[in-house]
Amino acid sequence: MFLVQIVLHSAIALFMVERALRIWHIEEPAVRFRYRVTVIVLPALMFPLFQLITPGRGGFYFREDIAVFDAQRWLEISLWGKVALGGVFFAAIAVTSGLMFVQEMIPVIRHLLAKRHGHAARPAHGPSAGPETGGILAELSTASGMPAPPVYVSDDETPVIFTTGSRHPAIVLSRGLMETFDGEELKCALAHELAHIKRKTNLTTLLVFVFRLLMFYNPVSLITFRRAVQDDELICDDLTVSLTGRPDVLASTLRSFYFPVPQGRGIRLLREAVETRSHNLLLEERIRRLEENREIDRAPGWGRYALTVAAIAGICYFVV
């Protein structure tokens, strides 16, 4: 029943959070990120807390007298007198766990193995990033009030830029990116990575990922984790614009990261096509937002947040 409750609580948390974001017109990415992280973290914390408050919460009389929803009633239903709905539920959980393993765990394991064998993503002796990059980075560092991280160049024709490491972060950019981007675009790309370092994105994402990992079976966390990562990108876009003052350039820079959708048959190609399409869609959302460059309410709204968390916890207590 633990698994069932966690999934149900996550679904309720997701619904309530999405409604809260709509009702209160919350557009500030940092606030949206906080709400989305709540969907991932809160269900994992609520269940043990509820059991601590009411040890008999799983018992018959709590389910009968107090609960507003008892999942066991549904799980006991058999479809056409043959397949129990509980079996269908657990099969769905198995599929989600499999997806999580294939999509997220295999790349992590590969990365760790590569690191162990010295093929880390951070090239130790890559070619110099050049004086232009150094100059831009120095300028951005002064503006942001943080030390300039080391920059490594990878021998890759595709335009790629990312931040690696959390305690000693570094920026890795590809040769392809340096050849494609002009000075302003390179500045925007570097500013965006500096924003990730300033926000300690790698560390935050890792912490949220731990919760995500604990709930590997939970499809709701799978969806929400991705949305939280997207929110983090939007936060860094805003920080980039505050550093460069050029949302238009950042938008054109982002266009360089569109990938062509692979065509053809086969499960692997299909998966890649879905991934690429999703990546492009997320980029489009970021570009549209930068082009609109609307004024939004940036208030942290802690009262609204507290009310949302209280509502989620209040409802979930009665869902067993």
Binding site: A20, W24, D70, W74, G301, I315, F318
Partner: protein, 173 residues
């Protein structure tokens, strides 16, 4: 936070609770053999078609009739009885078909002091002298009869429990 949006949010909370309640009711409507609460024994007989309900012919004077709670399915029947004056739950009587999962009573003995097997109307009855969480006696009798397992838990003297249990059994064997 504007009042209008706060109200809208609270309405959403109410709607979620309402939907959950409706969704919670649905399995009861489609699944007839699930354990559910009944207000009368006649209701159990009519809706479940059960003609095999065992009732004790002896009840202590302090007990209020009818049962304060009845939970039943095709295989399980559980009744709770309260004290006539205090309203406290003092007797629990369950009848479970062999092989079916038992339904736990609201009165649960916490510590068994002594257990013994006694003969009542020629049947073996497992009698447990026990106390509940509050330290007061809540004795239990367990027996099998006519394809069912009976559990009688009484918050009172063991002699009364014996009488109740004995009166539950039909004469002879």
């Amino acid at each position: 936070m504007r009042l209008k949006t706060a109200v809208l949010f609270l309405v959403t909370v109410g709607a979620v609770v309402l939907v959950l309640m409706v969704v919670n009711w649905f399995p009861l409507a489609v699944k007839k053999d699930t354990v559910r609460r009944y207000s009368t024994l006649e209701g159990v007989r009519e809706e479940l078609g059960r003609r095999d309900i065992y009732l004790p012919s002896y009840f202590p004077q302090s007990l209020r009739w009818p049962p304060s709670e009845i939970y039943a399915s095709k295989d399980v029947l559980l009744m709770h009885f309260t004290h006539r004056e205090t309203g406290e739950l003092i007797l629990s009587l369950s009848q479970t078909a062999r092989g079916a999962g038992p339904l736990s009573s609201r009165i649960e003995p916490e510590r068994i002091i002594k257990e013994d097997t006694v003969l009542l109307k020629g049947r073996e009855v497992r009698l447990s002298l026990a106390v509940c969480g509050d330290g007061r006696p809540c004795n239990k009798a367990l027996l099998g009869e006519g394809g069912y397992t009976f559990e009688v838990i009484f918050r009172g003297p063991v002699e009364e429990l014996r009488k109740i249990t004995e009166s539950l059994l039909p004469e002879g064997q």
